[in-house]
Symmetry: C2
Subunit: 273 residues, 2 copies
DNA sequence: TTCGATTTGTTCGTATGTATT
DNA sequence: TAATACATACGAACAAATCGA
């Protein structure tokens, strides 16, 4: 028996990588096309956060690809934090729970805390909510006009009962209609959860730039520092689907008792023997 | 025809996930066992940095697993930065080239530089090389005794022709015998490349903790700052195979012209539609 | 409690495309 | 051109987790 003959000889739409595009997955490898297609569906809220995607079997049938191709497409979105797999249950759209915040977006921890130790969720106190104009720097980060209206929120964050971090958040007012101080204060969960639930805006990634600066007097007062004391300043831009900027945030951190932890690993099974 | 009958009905060593361990891959899923096995081989320098691993076909045959399982094991090591795939050529052991330094370990960039812009490699000037004792903090980080002998190196790093960063590097003297100032100064490539080529010690990951501090007088002089000016201090611990600490490093960064960039993404095809 | 249906997780094997030498 | 190596794709079978009947 010279090896099993091609028991499934033909009838497939394509052999392996296909030079032409299939029905509607775009060009390039199939799994990338499917990945883009799924990302687009997620951006359009076809499956809202927290809900389950169709099973891999169904997705494979609907898109006319094999289940292995579906898995590879989903793998990338799971690695990017947009989807969550649960064996025996299904694949779910990631939601902005406190857990996700801690894992993906909040990097300030108690000094000398082990990298793998459980992190503490900060408690937030809203200090101010104002309407303003973007200005040059924020405008560039948010890809809006410098004169565009923005909302500016100031928060004081506590860790271990201590004021550690002052946040200045700026978002385009046009994207968050009717957002007001009351709504912010009575929210449950994180601000990103509010963006998600009230406005259908998902933050999917962020970049942060850190520098050391002399603490402004007002912030020093809030953090219990002397004016001019060194503080860690973090400028974060948070992006949504399609790399569209959603939020500009500047944080000032009192690093006497806390610090910024940049691990850069811990995803999937540890690849170090 | 009720679907192709199982044309390959038996003879496999195992069916799917196997409760028992195979030849020597340990417990758990096969691909994890293989991943650990490969990591161990890499740690033992079975294939030196820059060299090619056996082909996936060969690895599959040697370990008596399918090629898909081999690919999954290698995928994780590639994601961790220990291996590099090159289509048509093979899979290679990652070496500590300047490129790898920039991508995985060096995060200081010019202010407001786009996140995706090409980064600049710093030029290094060695300021001092001394023998010393570890002391409490370093000892804990390096998992050695506080009285253990260490080597301490001070470097001044320039970016865009400007002194931007002061480095204080500490390693256990026992692991780097006969390392001296002359060898450090005449090295080509990065310090991690020297660890690799001269001592067979690979840095595979690092954690960094950032805080803002008042600049010590001596460092201020070197960086062109006034004593007490805010500087960004980075405490890095670099780890080798098996999460063994290799190096303790404290960096002081002048963040008037440069900043620390924490992207946390950009690996693999972008999962955002 | 047991059992079956459903869904993801793991493994195998094969075929073919694409890049390199 | 031929051989080799990784990349993509398909499909099948079984394991493990989950949930509800």
């Amino acid at each position: 028996m010279p090896a099993t003959p091609p028991s499934k000889p033909a009838a497939r739409r394509r052999a392996a990588t296909r030079p032409e595009s299939g029905p509607g997955l775009g060009d390039g490898p199939l799994y990338l096309g499917l990945q883009r297609s799924l990302a687009r569906s997620l951006a359009e809220r076809r499956w809202p956060p927290g809900s389950a995607l169709p099973s891999e079997t169904r997705l494979a049938a609907e898109h006319r690809v094999s289940i292995g191709t579906v898995r590879k497409a989903i793998d990338a979105l799971v690695a990017g934090g947009m989807l969550v797999r649960r064996q025996g249950r299904g694949t779910f759209v990631a939601s902005h729970t406190p857990d996700r915040l801690l894992f993906h977006f909040f990097h300030v921890v108690a000094r000398d805390a082990p990298a793998a130790s459980p992190r503490e969720l900060p408690s937030t106190r809203l200090l101010s909510f104002r309407h303003a104009r973007a200005g040059a720097g924020v405008a560039e980060a948010l890809a809006i006009a410098p004169a565009a209206r923005v909302l500016r929120v100031e928060n004081l964050l506590h860790l271990q009962g201590r004021a550690v971090l002052f946040d200045e958040i700026t978002v385009a007012a046009a994207r968050f209609p009717r957002l007001d101080r009351a709504r912010l204060e009575r929210r449950e969960g994180t601000i990103y959860g509010l963006y998600e639930s009230d406005y259908g805006i998902d933050v999917v990634r962020s970049t942060e730039r850190l520098s050391a600066v002399a603490c402004p007097a007002r912030i020093a007062r809030l953090l219990g520092l002397a004016p001019g004391d060194p503080v860690l300043r973090i400028r974060r831009v948070a992006y949504g689907w399609g790399d569209r900027p959603v939020e500009h945030r500047v944080s000032w951190v009192d690093t006497r008792t806390h610090e910024y932890l940049s691990d850069l690993w811990k995803r999937g099974p540890d690849p170090r023997g």
